[in-house]
Amino acid sequence: MNEIINPSFLVVEDSDEDYAALERIVLRSKAPAPVRLQRCVSAEQVLDMLKAPLLPDRPLPVLPALIVLDLNLPGVDGRSVLLAVRQHPRLKRTPVVIFSTSSSPHDIAWCYEHGANSYHVKQTDYGSFKRAVELLVDYWVEAVRLPVPPRSASILDKPDEMAS
């Protein structure tokens, strides 16, 4: 059994309602350890976070165990986030799960081609939506083993000597 203490998900989702629904379902899920959620509302926010300078006296953003990404974001869309994450030295191993309204074969193919780990079409029907989110938690928290993040690992790309 892989013991992961408080796995954290980074959810990139601009819709408050969708986030609320997702949050509700995640928090009510029967995961062995409560999942912590971080949220970004836009691609820019994620990209800024990835490039943010290190500030003293600030806790480093924690390395997420999983990134849940909506493709349809205001401004720069989710594809850029996927590309940036896959090129990021610390995040490139992190699974990225696409949650999108788009069922276009073209979109789906593109995401897998650029390193998405799975692709879910957001269902309008609540039952299906709920089922999908529960599966996500079950699968990524319980069923699979994720790469072990380094101690006090943060998203930020910093020289290792600063860690001590």
């Binding site: 969708d18 629904a21 349809n72 309008t124 939506f129």
Partner: protein
Amino acid sequence: MSDPVDLTNCDREPIHIPGSVQPHAILLVLEEPALSILQATANAPERLGLDLEGLLQMDLPELISAQDMDYLRKQILTKDLEASPHYLPPLQVGPAGQSFEVLVHRYQGVLIMELETWTDQASMVQDEVYVSLKHTLSHLQSSTSVVEFCQRAAEHVKRFTGFDRIMVYRFADDASGHIIAEARRDDLESYLGMHYPASDIPKQARKLFVRSQLRLNPDVRYQAVALLPRLRPDNGEPLDMSYCVSRSMSPIHAEYLQNMGVTASMSISIVVGEELWGLFACHHYSPRYVAHSTRMACEFLAHMLSLQVGSKENEEQHEYMLRLQQEHRVLADAMILQPEFYHTLIHSRGETLAGIEAEGSALLYNDMVHLRGRTPDATAVRALAIRLAESQEQAVWSTDHLGGHYPEWQPAAATASGLLAARLSRQAPAYLMWFRREETQTRNWAGDPTKPVETGPHGDRLTPRKSFELWQQEVRGRSRPWLNCETEAARALRQTILETEVRRAEHLTRLNAELDERNRQLDSFAYVASHDLKEPLRGISNFSNFILEDCGAQLDEQGINYLRTMMRLTERMETLLDSLLYYSRLSRAELQTYRVDMNAVVQDALEMVVARVQESQVEITVAKDLPPTFGDADRLGEVFANLLSNAIKYNDKKPPQIEIGWQPATLTHAAIYFVRDNGIGIAAEHKTLVFQIFKRLHGREEYGGGVGAGLTIVRKIIERHGGRMWLESAPGQGTTFYFTLEQDPATP
């Protein structure tokens, strides 16, 4: 002179060195400055009252008075007489003291003096004939066309000279002649409009006509008088008599004139620029001598005519050119407004296209043939276009002898001897064409009262009738030649058409780009709309669920029903959005086209609707031999699945029956597939409505609901395959949907 001259070698006859003169003139060749006599004609001694030997040792001053000599030296010899005969006042010459009309010019180092005299007063043109030139000129200048101008000039020359017939010859580019004006004695047959071949006036004769403006033969039945000695003593050469008015004429020409019954002739050249433009040919049926003063008047007139005719002709050409340019502007302006250039041309006014003078014209474009005026038939014109396209490189090509280039066109000479063609496309044989008929004319020769019973040694070849026949043979299959301004007009029109087409193509490209852009926008609109619309839908659905999950216990049954209705509505909305999206994607997505086994496609479709089939206990018969086609198997499967489920859905019979079959292709349509049911049918007024997206003909809950996009999508798929779809229906008895999957052969 070695060989006797005949018709075969008369173009080589050295007519500028005949070595003799006509008997009414004496010719003296003088060496300056002493004016010693080098040569004299054989008639000089007798006329001047001297013997030849004596004469040839004399100088001119010994023959004329000191006063005249003084005048000659001071007034005349100081002038430039080079190659230009100069009229002198009458001179008494020699011991006999006879009075002569004198012409003098310098040529090739000698002074040539011609002394003319005519004793028969009756056949001499009296000076009274001479009319005021001033009046003549003002009369001429009021004429509007070259032909009218020449006609008036001919009438004036007739009045000056009293000749029986005055003709104005106009030389064509091929040196053939054409009589464009004539003034004659009323009882004579007209030669107006007659053509004669180039050979009638040989090249060297035409050259002489350019050199000396006036030639006179008072009596063509003369005996030539030799020049003595035969060769110039100073250089041993024959005397060049190019500029001598009284030079002896070619025997061939003399015979020609005599065959026509002509006794006296005078010709005055009309030279425009350096070119022999034409001639006044004056004929008289008895001897006739024209005195110098009248000759001067005629020469002056011809000179005026030369100046006028050139500019008049240019003016006429210029006017024609302006007319052509005007026509062109009208067409070009119209083409800007018309989407298709050929509509402009077809509906343009005029006997021919673009105002170019021709008997007929044609426009060939995209298999369309538009003919105007006298032309070969459409099939022949098409064949000609193909022939030209494969054999002529130039964009604009013209000929006045089509049969000479394409022998198979010789029989069509009557309508198409001349062709002016402008090519409109490099890929296809598309042309503008103008046709001209053969130029030969028929002529009814009247019995010629002046025709002698006997013709000369060369038989009747040297007669106008034979000349005309020869000319007719020479121009067999030839048309009036095309003018520069006409080929230019064709070129300009072609250019304008091509520019119009390029503009149109650019416009189409732009429209296509705009259409593409619009489709893209529509696509992304449909896409964005459905995504952005789905988000609140999801929200509504989710939050309704949260209420049910969290507060369900506190709601009564009605409250719960409300929530469930909300959730059902969100689902319906989603279905609508999905259909819209699918429809918009359908019109853009590439079809995966392969050879498709339609029987397998129908089996797949039956699989798709298997639940409905079982539930409704429908009886389905499928033709075993549906013909294969090219297409996207998945999409075609959708077509059948949709039609099948409709046929099941809109059916009130027990049992529902469905037939899937086909009809073979014919000359006018491709193979037809059909799906027939015995269902509720579609009223005639709804035949088109059923294909409208989201258009339902029935209530929401009747016939199993649905959003009304099925048939719209089906028809879109068919159209994407290049086919068409239609239906036949009898309300209450059933409907048949037909479709083809490729262009019908009969549609262009």
